[in-house]
C-alpha cells in the first residue's frame, strides 16, 4: 500500500495533464457534432477525404459514411483519442519500473523488506489505477459531450450503449498496451526514454496492423495491433467482439505473468 500510494503520487502530475487534455479534447470534438451536420461542413469533409491518398484514408480508417449519426461520429473521432490513450497506456507500463532503475532509486526500494513480486504488484496496481482515472476523464468528456449534442430523435439508451462499447474498447486497448509496455520494460535491460519507446511500441504495432488495410495482403498482420480488435467504427455497429476481448485479456494476462517471472529474477547488477 505504501509503495502503491507513492507510485500514484509519482504518476499524479502527468496523469492530470493527460486526463485534462484527453478529456477536454474528447468533449470538444463531440461538441463539434452539430457543426458536422451542416451540409457545407459535410461536403468540405468529404472533399478533403477525396483529396487524401487512399492508403492514408485506409490507414486512419477515414470515411464520410454515416458520420451524420452521433454514435458513428463519436466512433470516428474517438479512434484518434484511443491512439492517445494507447500511447499513454504504453508509457505508463514502460516507465513504471524503468523510471526507478534509470533514476537509481531502485536501490532504495531493494533495501526495503519487499519481495520483487510485491514491487511489481504495487507498481502495476498504481499504473492500472492511474490509467482508470485517466480513462474516466476521457469517458466523462465523451459522455457529457454526447449528452449535450444528442438529437432529440436519438434514443438515449441506443446512444449510451454505443458510446459505452466504444469507450470500453478504447480502455481495453490502452490497458493491453500498458501490460505489454510493462513486460517490455522488464525484459529489456534498463530501458531509457520510456516515452519514445512507448510511441515506438504503439506506432510500430499500429502501422504493422494497418498494412492489410492499405495493401490488401498480409492479413495476419492486423492481429499485431490491439486497436484492430476494438476498432470504434466496427464496435459502434456490432458491439464489442467477445472473442477479441478474450484474446486481449489473454495478452494482458501473459504480459503480466511474464513481468512477474522476469522481475523476480531481477537484481541490481542483473
Amino acid at each position: 500500500m505504501n509503495l502503491f500510494s507513492m507510485e500514484l503520487r509519482q504518476n499524479l502530475k502527468t496523469m492530470v495533464i493527460w486526463t485534462a487534455v484527453s478529456g477536454a479534447l474528447t468533449l470538444l470534438l463531440t461538441l463539434l457534432y452539430p457543426a458536422m451536420l451542416s451540409s457545407d461542413m459535410l461536403a468540405l469533409f468529404n472533399a478533403k477525404l477525396v483529396a487524401l491518398p487512399k492508403e492514408l484514408v485506409a490507414m486512419f480508417n477515414l470515411s464520410g459514411e454515416d458520420i451524420r449519426q452521433l454514435p458513428q461520429f463519436f466512433a470516428y473521432f474517438f479512434q484518434f483519442v484511443m491512439m492517445a490513450a494507447c500511447v499513454y497506456g504504453a508509457t505508463l507500463g514502460l516507465s513504471v519500473i524503468s523510471r526507478e532503475e534509470s533514476d537509481g532509486t531502485i536501490e532504495f526500494l531493494y533495501a526495503k523488506p519487499l519481495r520483487r513480486t510485491q514491487i511489481v504488484t504495487g507498481k502495476l496496481l498504481a499504473a492500472a489505477v492511474t490509467f482508470v482515472i485517466y480513462f474516466m476523464g476521457v469517458a466523462i468528456g465523451g459522455v457529457a459531450g454526447c449528452l449535450a449534442v444528442k438529437p432529440e430523435a436519438l434514443d438515449m439508451m441506443t446512444l449510451l450503449t454505443a458510446v459505452k462499447s466504444v469507450l470500453a474498447g478504447g480502455f481495453i486497448a490502452g490497458l493491453a498496451y500498458m501490460f505489454v509496455g510493462l513486460a517490455l520494460s522488464v525484459l529489456l535491460r534498463r530501458p531509457k526514454h520510456a516515452a519514445s519507446l512507448a510511441s515506438a511500441l504503439f506506432f510500430g504495432t499500429f502501422i504493422a496492423g494497418s498494412v492489410p488495410r492499405i495493401t490488401g495482403v498480409l492479413d495476419f498482420l492486423k492481429w499485431l495491433s490491439p486497436i484492430n480488435y476494438v476498432m470504434p467504427g466496427e464496435v459502434v455497429m456490432d458491439g464489442l467482439n467477445g472473442g477479441y476481448v478474450l484474446i486481449l485479456a489473454a495478452v494482458m494476462a501473459s504480459a503480466g505473468a511474464l513481468t512477474y517471472i522476469a522481475y523476480s529474477r531481477r537484481d541490481l547488477i542483473g
Binding site: 505504501n2 507513492m6 509519482q10 533514476d103 537509481g104 532509486t105 536501490e107 532504495f108 533495501a111 526495503k112 523488506p113 519487499l114
Partner: protein, 214 residues
C-alpha cells in the same frame, strides 16, 4: 546504504524518511536521527548536497532498527561533526546487537570502528582478520637519519622499505625491543623515529605483494 544514495528528488527529507519508515512494522521513526544528524526536514531531496543526501540515507538505514547494516563509504562527504555522530551511532548499534559491514577507504575509521577487517584485492577477499590480530602482529616502522647506517637487512627481522643518502626506513619484525635499541645505539644517528605500522601500511602490503604484518 550505497556510497552514492539516490532518492526521489521531488520529496522532502521528512516525506522520504516517513515513506521509508512505513515499510516496517512497527513504523520506523526517523525523527531522532533527523535531529542527531541536524537535518532540514522540509528541504527537497533534489536540493541536497552529497553529504546531506548521505545523512538522509543514514537516517533511513538507522531508523529501521536493522540487525544487519551494510554501509558503503558511509563517511564520504560528511563533515567531521556528523562523522563523529555517525561513529557514536554505529557503536550504539553494535552494542545493541547489530552487525555492521562497513566498506571504506579511510583506514583510520576502520581502525577506530571495526572488530574484523577483510582486505579486498582485485575483487576478492585477500585476508580476513580481527583488528586485534592485525595489531598484535604489527611490526615497527623505523626511520633513521645519520651516517654509518646499516647496509644489509636479513629480510626476516628487518626489511628495507626505503633508503637514500643519510636516511633509511625499515620495518622491524620482532617483539624484542631491547635488540632494536641495541641496534640503534650501534649506529651513528642524528635522528630516529620508531612507530607502529599503520593499518594503511598493512593494507598497502597486500597490494604491493609485501608481507609487512607477518
Amino acid at each position: 546504504m550505497p556510497a552514492e544514495p539516490r532518492f526521489y528528488d521531488r520529496l522532502t527529507v521528512k516525506e522520504l524518511l516517513e515513506y521509508s519508515g512505513r515499510f516496517y512494522s512497527p513504523k520506523a521513526d526517523a525523527e531522532e536521527w533527523m535531529r542527531r544528524f541536524d537535518m532540514e526536514p522540509k528541504k527537497k531531496i533534489g536540493q541536497l548536497s552529497t553529504g546531506n543526501r548521505k545523512k538522509v540515507s543514514l537516517a533511513a538505514a538507522l531508523a529501521c532498527r536493522p540487525k544487519l547494516l551494510i554501509l558503503d563509504e558511509p563517511t564520504s562527504g560528511l563533515d567531521p561533526l556528523v562523522r563523529q555522530t555517525l561513529f557514536e551511532a554505529l557503536r550504539e548499534m553494535r552494542s545493541g546487537g547489530c552487525t555492521v559491514f562497513l566498506s571504506s577507504h579511510n583506514l583510520d575509521e576502520v581502525q577506530s570502528l571495526c572488530d574484523r577487517v577483510a582486505i579486498i584485492r582485485e575483487g576478492r577477499i585477500a585476508d580476513v582478520r580481527t583488528l586485534n590480530d592485525l595489531t598484535a602482529r604489527r611490526a615497527k616502522k623505523v626511520t633513521v637519519t645519520g651516517s654509518h647506517l646499516p647496509e644489509t637487512f636479513d629480510g626476516q627481522t628487518m626489511k628495507l622499505v626505503f633508503r637514500n643518502e643519510g636516511r633509511v626506513v625499515f620495518t622491524y619484525h620482532s617483539a624484542d625491543m631491547a635488540a632494536l635499541l641495541r641496534l640503534l645505539a650501534a649506529m651513528e644517528i642524528s635522528d630516529f623515529l620508531v612507530e607502529d605500522i599503520s593499518l594503511s601500511d598493512i593494507f598497502m602490503a597486500y597490494y604491493t605483494g609485501g608481507e609487512v604484518s607477518k
